[in-house]
C-alpha cells in the first residue's frame, strides 16, 4: 500500500472516530509478551484450552486423535526478528465430526469498548487486520462475538492463497445497532475469534452477512477448511493483529514491550518463576507457626485474582532463619490491587520477626491470574 493510501485510510478512520495512538483494541497483537512460556503441548486427552502468549487463548473441543503445539516463535512477515503465534499439528485428526471445533481468541474487556457505541444507532465499524501464514491454503472464518445482553455474532472469511507465505488480511465489520450493547464493566466485551476447524454443528447458520443473534451453528460460520488439523505437521501462524475503529486497515501500531507487558499484567502477572534465591517480598511471623506476606500487584488487575503456585518440598523460605516451606496455604484480603498470602504449614519462628521471602527451587512459581 502506498503512503498516500495509508494516510487516506488513517484520515478515514479518524473521521469515523478511530485512528491515532492506542487505536488497537487488541492487546499484544505482535505476540511479544509470553509470561507463561513459549510452547504448550495440546492434545485431545490433555490440555485443550489455555493461554500461552498473553491474551491469546487456544481452545479445542471434542477431538479424538489430535495433538500439537501452540508456541511463540520468531517469525516476522518482513523478514525481521519479530514474533508470531504458531500452531503445529502433530498427530492429525482423522476427520472432523459434527461437534468438533477449535479456534484462537482474544477477549476484549467490555469497558474498553464503550466508544464503539455497540447496540445503538451510532455503532461504529471496526476493521481487523493481521498477517497469517499456513502450510494449508483455503478459506477460514474470523469473527466477532459478544455475549452481553442479546448474544450476537458476525463472521467474515479470508483466504490463504499461497502456502507458507505471510499474507496480510483485513476484514471490516459494520457496527451492530442491535442486541442491547455491551455493558460498561470489567467483564467480556468482544471475543475476536480466528477459527481453525469446525464441525457441521458449528457452521452453516448464516453469520457472514451481518450481525445476527447467536446460535451454535453460527459460531464458526464460513470456515471452509479443517486441513490444518487433519494434516500431520501442518502449521498456522499469525501476528500483527489489529482491531481498530473505522472502515480501513492502517499500519500495525507497534508499542514498547513494557507498555504491552503492563497491559497484559492487568490479566496475568508472575511474581516468581523458578530459581534459587529469587526475592518474593518481605514477610513476617504472624505467630510462631504462620508467615504472612502482603503483596501489591504490578498493576491493578481486572478482578481479584486467582493465586497460582507450584508447590514442593522446601520450594520457598523465610531467608533470615532459612525456614523453608512448601508453598503458601491460601490467599486472603484480596482485591484488584493487593492481597495477603500466608503459610501456616512447615514454618516456625518468633512472632513479629520479619524476613525476606525467597524461592528455593527451579520449579518455584507464583503468579496471579484475572483473565477474561
Amino acid at each position: 500500500m502506498s503512503k498516500a493510501a495509508e494516510l487516506a485510510n488513517l484520515i478515514g478512520n479518524i473521521n469515523a472516530g478511530g485512528g491515532g495512538v492506542n487505536r488497537n483494541l487488541l492487546i499484544n497483537g505482535a505476540m511479544n509478551v509470553a509470561q507463561r512460556g513459549t510452547s504448550q503441548a495440546f492434545a485431545h486427552d490433555g490440555t485443550t484450552n489455555t493461554l500461552l502468549i498473553d491474551r491469546w487463548r487456544f481452545f479445542i473441543n471434542g477431538t479424538d486423535e489430535l495433538d500439537g503445539t501452540y508456541a511463540q516463535v520468531a517469525d516476522d512477515p518482513f523478514g525481521g526478528n519479530g514474533n508470531a503465534l504458531k500452531w503445529t499439528t502433530g498427530t492429525a485428526e482423522s476427520a472432523i465430526a459434527s461437534g468438533e471445533y477449535g479456534y484462537f481468541t482474544q477477549k476484549i474487556e467490555a469497558q474498553n469498548l464503550q466508544h464503539i457505541q455497540n447496540g445503538n444507532s451510532n455503532a461504529k465499524s471496526l476493521t481487523l487486520s493481521f498477517y497469517v501464514k499456513s502450510s494449508i491454503t483455503g478459506t477460514f472464518a474470523v469473527g466477532l462475538y459478544k455475549g452481553d445482553n442479546t448474544a450476537r455474532i458476525f463472521n467474515k472469511t479470508y483466504t490463504i492463497d499461497s502456502a507458507n507465505t505471510w499474507e496480510k488480511k483485513s476484514v471490516t465489520f459494520a457496527g451492530d445497532t442491535s442486541g442491547g450493547g455491551i455493558d460498561d464493566d470489567t467483564g467480556e466485551g468482544f471475543w475476536v475469534n480466528w477459527h481453525i476447524f469446525a464441525g457441521s454443528d458449528y457452521k452453516g447458520g448464516g453469520a457472514t452477512s451481518g450481525w445476527t443473534n447467536y446460535a451454535n451453528n453460527k459460531w464458526a460460520d464460513g470456515q471452509a477448511t479443517d486441513a490444518v488439523v487433519t494434516t500431520a505437521g501442518a502449521t498456522w501462524l499469525m501476528t500483527q493483529c489489529q482491531l481498530e475503529v473505522g472502515q480501513n486497515p492502517t499500519e500495525f501500531e507497534s508499542e514498547p514491550f513494557e507498555r504491552t507487558l503492563t497491559k497484559c499484567q492487568r490479566y496475568y502477572q508472575v511474581l516468581v518463576d523458578g530459581g534459587a534465591d529469587k526475592a518474593i517480598g518481605v514477610g513476617f511471623y504472624w505467630n510462631s507457626g504462620e508467615v504472612d506476606y502482603t503483596h501489591r500487584f504490578a498493576t491493578d488487575m481486572r478482578a481479584s485474582p486467582t493465586l497460582e503456585q507450584e508447590t514442593g518440598n522446601g520450594y520457598y523460605k523465610m531467608s533470615a532463619n532459612n525456614d523453608s516451606f512448601n508453598g503458601f496455604s491460601a490467599i486472603q484480603y484480596v482485591s484488584t490491587r493487593s492481597c495477603n498470602l500466608y503459610a501456616d504449614s512447615n514454618v516456625s519462628g518468633t512472632a513479629g520477626f520479619a524476613s525476606d521471602i525467597r524461592s528455593r527451587d527451579a520449579s518455584s512459581f507464583i503468579a496471579f491470574t484475572a483473565e477474561l
Binding site: G187, P305, T306, E308, I331, C339
Partner: protein, 55 residues
Amino acid sequence: MAKQYQYVNRESEVACIKVEEGNKVSFVPLDPDNTDYAEILKQVKEGTLTIKDAD
C-alpha cells in the same frame, strides 16, 4: 490427575477455594468477577463439581 476443590476458612469465614492438581495449587477468591470462581459456581450448579468443606 483430577483437580480437588476445598474451601479455605480464615477467622471462621471462607477466604477462598483451594484447587489442587498435583504440585499445582491455586487459590480462587470469592469474587464473582473472577472467571475461575464463576466457572466453579457454574459447575457446582450443574452438579459436576463438589467442593470439600474446610479442614
